[in-house]
């Protein structure tokens, strides 16, 4: 069974993960339409990273299914993983390689042809403005450069779905602009993007679909306009996850 044209780019069905007695992801159902730019928002500790890790095959779920273009990630990982590019947050990379070496060896490990790998690596490094750092190890990269080389690694094998965990977190505005341009171009060319963030403005700016996760559950999901329901995403988000503005009655000694 190949990826049929009707299947969603990513579908999570009753996906569940429990650590000890704490259920971090609680029967999440989510559908990312193909060709969409999908934002996953939620407060810290809502289960975004855990959900995405299970969706791409990095963390074994306790229950439920994760499908990429109709292929079960955990039953048929080889075919499903060919179709996705992943950028996790905070994980290590082969740190003692330069950016070019990282792309080259990753491509070869994927079984790609040497010339093809080098051609793509050249282009990616140039577009992402990393070609200045030919002799710098990934280990010594800045946060923005790390995200960019991670994105290049995720794009190298021309995936059809990008799954990105906090791709713009702690990235300087210049690098962030480059990343945004590349992601928009990827979606325009028919690719699908899922990315998590807790910065509402970024999600409003980039995404056409959005899901709000709180305490391991999806509390709203759909096209951006439908989820916003006429308000700003931030207002809607706060009302959905039940936050409240703290009262400033205490800490009186702070005011001089």
């Amino acid at each position: 069974m190949g990826p049929s044209s009707r299947e969603a780019a990513l579908r999570l069905a009753a996906l569940t993960k429990t650590f000890g007695r704490r259920t971090v992801v609680d029967h999440i159902d989510l559908e990312v339409p193909r060709g969409s730019f999908f934002g996953l928002v939620g407060p810290n500790g809502a289960g975004k990273t855990t959900s995405l890790s299970m969706a791409v095959g990095l963390l074994r779920p306790d229950g439920g299914r994760a499908e990429i273009f109709g292929l079960d990630v955990w039953a048929d990982p080889a075919r499903a993983k060919q179709l996705i590019g992943v950028l996790p947050d905070g994980l290590s990379m082969p740190e003692r390689l330069t950016g070019r070496e990282l792309l080259r060896f990753t491509g070869l490990l994927r079984g790609m042809d040497v010339e093809e790998v080098e051609r793509r690596a050249d282009e990616l490094l140039e577009v992402l403005e990393l070609d200045q750092a030919e002799r710098t190890l990934v280990m010594a990269y800045s946060t923005g450069m790390r995200k960019k080389i991670g994105l290049a690694t995720a794009l190298l094998h021309a995936p059809r779905l990008l799954v990105l965990d906090e791709p713009l977190e702690a990235v300087d505005p210049v690098s962030a602009a480059t990343i945004k341009v590349i992601l928009k171009r990827f979606v325009r060319a028919g690719g699908s993007v899922v990315f998590s963030s807790h910065v509402m403005a970024v999600v409003e700016q980039l995404c056409d679909h959005v899901a709000v996760i709180a305490s391991g559950r999806v509390v709203a999901s759909g096209p951006l306009e439908a989820v916003r329901a006429g308000r700003s995403l931030e207002e809607r988000f706060v009302s959905l996850v039940g936050g409240q503005v703290p009262e400033m009655g205490e800490l009186a000694w702070l005011s001089s």
């Binding site: 990273t49 075919r79 994980l91 079984g111 710098t136 010594a140």
Partner: protein
């Protein structure tokens, strides 16, 4: 200030006196006290020669001080109960902080035990009948020696912490620790000399050296006081005091540097073309070779293995015994295996990248094996050929051509398998501070891999011993290839099936087999908890007490039987260079020697395989039982 810091340290020590930590502390204290008691008994006993107790104590104090100086470098970290960084934002001058921390450094079990040990100085003064003045000098010398010991230890640890951030420093530290370990392991060589010295006294140059070391200055002062040479007393005591002050100044300067400078990063690297890497396996091998040369930790390990092999095999030349020299290459291979069996643990969470590439597990394992062989085999072969050529021991060729390929193949297999089955989580490479001391070596793993790799050469050994001349080399080569292939395959299969669990383990530092609440996952946390040795590491939490005891006992005892009572006497009989020592078989009549050795090796192997089998069974079982951290991501 100092009082406050001492109170803080006491509070931290009190809070950490729980469970295993307390047990470790008490065991350490008791061992230290036993050794200290030994020194005191030595000082108080009657000796045939008047100078003997002073020389013996001199050696004892020198070793004790060496332990203080190098212990932190060998076993990781040093006393960091109070980290200077904790106070860097408070408005102290670095010098005041150094005074406070120096005061707190004297609080703890180790300084207390050392005080007991050094009080042998007073005992020896009383025993020699030197009088009240000399005893008073002894008391002063004890205090000064303790100060020098503690502060010098701080200074050396701080220097090493700075030095080990560079490649040259890593090599130097490896050289020093390898030389010390190897010298300790081959100290049996010196036992005939030591026995002679106990009867007839130490040679004069030796006594002079022992007295010249700062650890002997206290003894010099006490002896001089006994003989009424007061200028010497004053010089020795002033020397100790001056040394203490100098150590404190040096340490305070380094403390300031530690708090105010950061290491430079982003130095350009040399980039090799790597044209030979054109497929998945060679790409992994090329990546690994870059890691071997660019990662300080791996480089440090490699230099350590080389230095250990050289020192261990060259040292017996001091008594004119070249017996170990031809085995330098084999020992090097064995040690490289022992220190490189945490490949996945060292790379940290980087594993995710391979998990996203279909079929990468097999290529990754094979590529790492290839790189290990490319790093290990050329020096091994060069060392072996050179040593045989130098010693002219060409009669050993059946042994060497059998055991060297067997060890290389076995090492290539065991390292990847242990890396997958028993990874020791470490801080991710890009979050490490650059100070190698922060990542203490897991000695349980090193020991385990030493034994397992040595055991892979057993078939080749028996083939040479029992078979015709051609059997050894053939079995060695074929066995090496087969083990590299088989163990690599096991590792790849295991990696393919349990990569998500392995990644979680490397990411949280929490073993899937731990059942008690673990620290919350915090990716921003700079340090993982240091790996601690124990039953949980072996995955034995689910095993009944009897089996648990059996596994621990068998895995501890097996190598005594296998190596010390089996392989070593076998090597001696084979080469004809017999030293009976404590080798049971060599004390028996000749016709019983080989049967005894074979029985020992068999029993050792039985213990090893059954212990490992039961251990691995519970390891797998406890892994399947899942993980239970208190808090998820």
């Amino acid at each position: 200030m100092a009082v406050l810091l001492i109170q803080m340290k006491l509070a931290v020590l009190r809070h950490s006196m729980t469970g295993r930590r307390a047990a470790q502390m008490i065991t350490g204290a008791l061992t230290g006290l036993a050794l200290a008691g030994g020194l005191i008994v030595l000082a108080g006993r009657d000796h045939p020669i008047a100078s003997l107790p002073f020389d013996l104590l001199g050696v004892g104090f020198a070793l004790w001080t060496a332990g203080w100086l190098l212990g932190p470098a060998l076993f990781g970290g040093g006393d960091e109960t109070l980290r200077p960084e904790h106070f860097s934002l408070l408005s102290f001058t670095p010098r005041r902080l150094a005074v406070g921390l120096a005061g707190a450094a004297f609080v703890g079990v180790a300084p207390l035990v050392t005080l007991v040990a050094f009080s042998a100085l007073v005992v020896v003064a009383v025993k020699a009948g030197f009088g009240a003045a000399a005893t008073t000098v002894g008391v002063a010398a004890v205090a000064l020696q303790l100060v020098v010991c503690v502060l010098a230890s701080r200074l050396v640890t701080a220097v090493l912490g700075q030095v080990m951030r560079s490649k040259a420093g890593a090599a130097l530290a490896a050289l020093v620790s390898a030389a010390i370990l190897a010298a300790l392991h081959s100290s049996w060589v010196l036992s005939p000399l030591a026995q002679a010295a106990l009867r007839t006294g130490f040679p004069a140059p030796f006594s002079a050296w022992v007295a010249a070391l700062p650890s002997g200055w206290g003894l010099v002062a006490v002896r001089a006081a006994g003989q009424g040479q007061w200028p010497t007393v004053a010089t020795a005591l002033a020397g100790l005091a001056g040394l203490g002050v100098a150590c404190w100044y040096g340490w305070a300067a380094l403390l300031k540097r530690r708090l105010t400078t950061r290491r430079a990063s982003g130095r350009p690297v040399r980039v090799a073309s790597g044209r030979w890497a054109t497929g998945p396996v060679t790409a992994v091998a090329a990546r690994e070779l870059r890691t071997w040369s660019r990662d300080l930790l791996r480089f440090h390990y490699l230099v350590f293995a080389l230095c250990y092999a050289l020192v261990f095999c060259l040292l017996p030349l001091a008594i004119g015994a070249p017996i170990l020299l031809p085995w330098t290459g084999a020992l090097f291979a064995l040690w490289v295996a022992a220190v490189s069996a945490n490949l996945y643990g060292e790379d940290g969470t980087e594993l995710w990248g391979k998990m996203m590439i279909p079929g990468a597990a097999r290529h990754d394992v094979r590529g790492r094996q290839l790189a290990w062989l490319l790093v290990t085999a050329p020096p091994t072969l060069a060392l072996t050929v050179a040593a045989v050529a130098l010693t002219g021991e060409f009669g050993l060729w059946p042994w060497l051509t059998a055991l060297v390929p067997a060890l290389l193949g076995g090492g290539a297999g065991v390292t990847v398998l242990v890396s997958v089955l028993r990874p020791v989580p470490m801080t991710d490479p890009h979050r490490r501070s650059g100070n190698l001391l922060e990542n203490g070596t897991d000695f349980a793993q090193v020991l385990m891999v030493l034994i397992l790799t040595a055991a892979t050469a057993a078939p080749a050994f028996f083939a040479v011993r029992l078979g015709p001349a051609w059997a050894g080399p053939v079995v060695g080569l074929a066995g090496g290839l087969a083990l590299a292939w088989l163990l690599g395959r096991l590792a790849a299969t295991r990696l393919e099936s349990s990569a998500p669990e392995l990644l979680l383990h490397l990411r949280t530092g929490v073993s899937p087999r731990r059942r008690r609440p673990a620290p919350a996952l915090d990716l921003a946390r700079p340090h993982l908890p240091k790996p601690d040795l124990g039953v949980e590491k072996l995955g034995l939490m689910l095993a009944p007490a009897g089996r648990r005891a059996y596994v621990v006992a068998s895995l501890t005892l097996c190598w005594v039987l296998l190596v010390a009572q089996g392989i070593v006497p076998a090597l001696m009989l084979t080469t004809g260079q017999v030293t009976r020592s404590w080798f049971l078989a060599l004390h028996l009549p000749q016709h019983l020697q080989w049967p005894t050795i074979i029985a020992m090796i068999t029993l050792g192997l039985v213990l090893l395989t059954t212990g490992l089998g039961i251990g691995l069974y519970y390891l797998a079982k406890s892994r399947r039982a899942g993980i239970a951290p208190a808090d998820g991501p």
